[in-house]
């Protein structure tokens, strides 16, 4: 499986001892120096203020796992149709808004308690929140299938750049159509959470932070939403691995990814496989959108742009088309952002995120997991 001739993914071998252009060592030396400087800054701060470092690390984990959920959609869609679906970040936004309307307008998160008043409130909240999340995921999937059918499928045989530009158009459409007053409105909307956020601090064991109470010095705080995001993201990852490797539809996805005409000859309905891929990616983006909105509790129609772009960078960093690559890339992006915010300054976070994209494209365009992967979907 190392040489996949039918795949249209261009594998650029990293030149090792071949003739290098003159002065190539200047560039390499620069990147090595940059790496050393970053490592020195991080390690010295870790030794100096370990709690603060741990706190930044936790912020980075939360961001990273959210990016991971979005990046999966980018990488799967790229793997199968070679399209960078820029509307993906806006599907993420729609997920957040669907859950907002479900919770704030229709009180969907309270249905178990309304229907079965006897069940314990805790269980009711869990089931209610899961319903809200599922609804968001289903609506996002439906939206993504619609987008794919309306905007991308007619362009499947067109040059790839046409589909890419269409993707950008769809992205803008979702943002600015959503900003209309009768859709989502252009305002920043305070998000009502389906469940309460509870925070704990770690110092001599894990303790609950009561409202109005400050954690002691040197404590590391984290919240239930962090735990939920990490668990959800890992479950999604395991589910996808299972889906792609063990199920029929997974095999069909891999086959379509390697060689569409051959897959068709084998009796695979490639169009529905592509739709399914969009739907799965969008469902995870919807899940990410709900969890992101719960974590940061303010939504507006352009909320998806930056997380979407950063998840895209994460997918490229990990090796676009590779599922574990998207996951690892997203975690690295989360840490890079948190550490930039912590040790350089907050407005630099976006600059650093996109600098990483440039560096990856310069020194290893195939990304970390860039070698053709077996489960490249």
């Amino acid at each position: 499986m190392q040489q996949v001739s039918g795949s249209s993914q261009v594998v650029i071998p990293v030149p090792k001892k071949k003739k290098q252009p003159p002065l190539a060592w200047v560039g390499q030396g620069f990147f090595i120096l940059l790496g050393i400087v970053v490592a020195v800054i991080l390690i010295s701060n870790l030794i100096r203020q370990p709690t603060l470092f741990a706190q930044f690390f936790i912020s980075g984990l939360q961001l990273g796992f959210v990016y991971a959920m979005i990046a999966l959609g980018y990488t799967m869609v790229y793997g199968i149709v070679k399209l960078i679906n820029f509307a993906h970040g806006d599907v993420f936004m729609v997920g957040a808004f669907v859950s907002y309307f479900a919770v704030a307008r229709f009180r969907l998160h309270q249905w178990p308690l309304a229907v079965f008043p006897e069940i314990s409130p805790g269980l009711g909240v869990v089931i209610g929140s899961l319903t809200v999340i599922l609804l968001s995921m289903v609506i996002c999937s439906a939206l993504a299938i619609t987008i794919e059918r309306v905007a991308y499928k007619p362009l499947r045989d067109a040059p790839r750049i046409a589909a890419l530009i269409t993707a950008i158009g769809v992205s803008f459409f979702l943002e600015y159509f959503g900003a209309l007053n009768f859709v989502f409105s252009p305002r920043f909307i305070p998000y009502e959470r389906p469940f309460e956020v509870v925070a704990w601090y770690i110092k001599d064991g894990i303790h609950l932070i009561k409202p109005g109470e400050a954690p002691p010095d040197g404590a590391i705080t984290f919240s239930n939403i962090l735990v939920i995001i990490i668990v959800a993201s890992i479950l999604v990852q395991i589910f996808l691995q299972f889906l792609v490797k063990r199920t029929k539809i997974g095999i069909a996805m891999r086959a379509s990814s390697y060689d569409k005409p051959a897959a068709r000859l084998m009796g695979i309905n490639v169009d529905s496989v592509i739709s399914f891929t969009f739907a799965i990616g969008a469902a995870f983006a919807g899940l990410g959108g709900v969890l992101y909105a719960i974590a940061y509790s303010s939504i507006w129609t352009q909320l998806g742009i930056l997380p979407g772009l950063k998840a895209f960078v994460a997918a490229v960093l990990g090796g676009i088309g590779s599922i574990p690559g998207a996951f690892v890339g997203a975690l690295i992006m989360g840490q890079a952002e948190a550490m930039t915010m912590g040790y350089i300054s907050t407005p630099m976070r976006d600059a650093v995120a996109f600098t990483i994209l440039i560096i990856v494209l310069l020194i290893r365009p195939t990304g970390i997991f860039g070698e053709p992967e077996k489960e490249k979907v």
């Binding site: 706190q55 920043f188 601090y201 400050a214 705080t221 976006d350």
Partner: protein, 388 residues
């Protein structure tokens, strides 16, 4: 097509009629004092325009009820200036050249007030803007004050000073942490002025962190705040950022009071999250001073909302009311409508207004008290008045 023709005919007819009507009144009595009110009754901020017009008209009616100024009846001329430079300039030219107005109250928006101030100043017409906060309204590009232009509101950086004074003197804060959006002039102005004054008073700014307007994750900055343990955090941004930061701070167990500026003043402010915070504003309807109580009562009697309940004046109405009053008081004190004399009186005036005591500094910006409001879970409450 026929419709369009009909409408244009109608508009032309209306224009001719209105021109005639005004021509008629210009030639008439001598015993009238014309005051123009330039308010954005249409355009992006029509509610600002209505409040401004109503506030100014109420002041004029009160003076007329007392017999006018210097025995003259005050005639208001209201023009819609749309919060936009072009219509504002046209309106200013119209009232000055055609109606012979020598006193203008307006505009609301800085970008419209600045071009109007150029015209008014060059023609020796006194202009008082009730609410334009940009420094360029009263000062030209070379830093020279425009002699005929004044304003009734404090300029942005003043709120930073008031916030610092409140934090240091009333909350007893010794250390402060400043959060700001570097790309927003309003936020930057307030934050810089807060830091400068807080340090001058003897406090210490233990940290300054900037973010961008689209940020949603403030956990790292809040981690630094938890580490720095300041007595107060100064966050002079708009309510949407405040909502995010305050909520995330509460969840991290950071119970330091947040202080901000009038950008917090919004029905969308998350009261539960921002509770415990304070912000500066031009005026508060809960202020117990008699000027405010009387103003509130009179305004509510004069203006009703759609359901017939008395309207509660907002800061714009209060400032327009003050602007009109301070102008008429100055004309009264000068004993003449000669604008050169009136501006000298204005420069030395000490006027007790609804939004505080007004005296003007060398740049014609009022030196006056600011209202400090406390955010409580059930609403925004008046806390105190901070004098400069």
């Amino acid at each position: 097509m026929r419709f369009v023709k009909f409408f244009s005919l109608l508009i032309v007819a209306a224009l001719i009629l209105s021109a005639c009507a005004q021509g008629g009144s210009t030639g008439g009595q001598q015993q009238e004092l014309k005051v123009a009110i330039l308010a954005p009754l249409s355009g992006p901020v029509p509610t600002f325009g209505v409040s401004t017009r109503d506030g100014a008209l109420m002041a004029i009616d009160e003076w007329n009820a007392k017999g006018g100024v210097l025995g003259m009846k005050i005639v208001p001329i209201v023009e819609d200036s749309q919060c936009t430079p072009d219509p504002a300039v046209n309106a200013a030219n119209k009232v000055i050249d055609q109606d012979g107005v020598k006193f203008i109250i307006g505009e609301v928006c800085s970008k419209a007030s600045i071009p109007v101030s150029e015209i008014a100043n060059s023609k020796g017409v006194i202009q008082i803007s009730p609410t334009s906060t940009n420094e360029q309204v009263t000062v030209d590009a070379n830093g020279n004050v425009k002699p005929y232009i004044f304003r009734a509101c404090f300029i942005d950086p003043f709120q930073g000073y008031v916030g610092a004074k409140f934090a240091y003197e009333q909350l007893g804060a010794k250390t402060a942490f400043v959060m700001l959006d570097q790309a927003n002039d309003y936020v930057k102005g307030l934050a810089t002025e807060f830091a400068k004054n807080f340090e001058m008073m003897g406090g210490k700014v233990v940290g300054t962190e900037s973010y961008t307007a689209t940020d949603t994750d403030f956990s790292v900055i809040l981690g630094k705040i938890a580490e720095a343990k300041p007595d107060v955090v100064y966050l002079p941004d708009y309510y949407n950022i405040v909502n995010l930061v305050a909520k995330q701070a509460k969840e991290k167990g950071i119970n330091v009071p947040f202080i901000g500026g009038d950008g917090w003043d919004s029905p969308d402010l998350d009261l539960a999250a921002a509770a415990g915070g304070y912000f500066t504003n031009h005026y508060s309807p809960d202020d117990p001073r008699p000027e405010v109580v009387n103003f509130l009562k009179a305004y509510g009697e004069k203006y009703k909302d759609e359901s017939g309940n008395p309207k509660v004046p907002d800061a714009l109405a209060a400032l327009a009311y003050d602007a009109a009053n301070v102008l008429l008081q100055a004309i009264n004190d000068a004993g003449t409508t000669d604008t050169a004399k009136v501006k000298e009186i204005l420069e030395k005036i000490n006027f007790k207004g609804v939004s505080g005591n007004i005296t003007f500094d060398a740049n014609h910006n009022p030196i006056k008290s600011a209202a400090l409001l406390a955010v409580k879970p059930d609403g925004v409450k008046f806390e105190t008045i901070v004098n400069p």
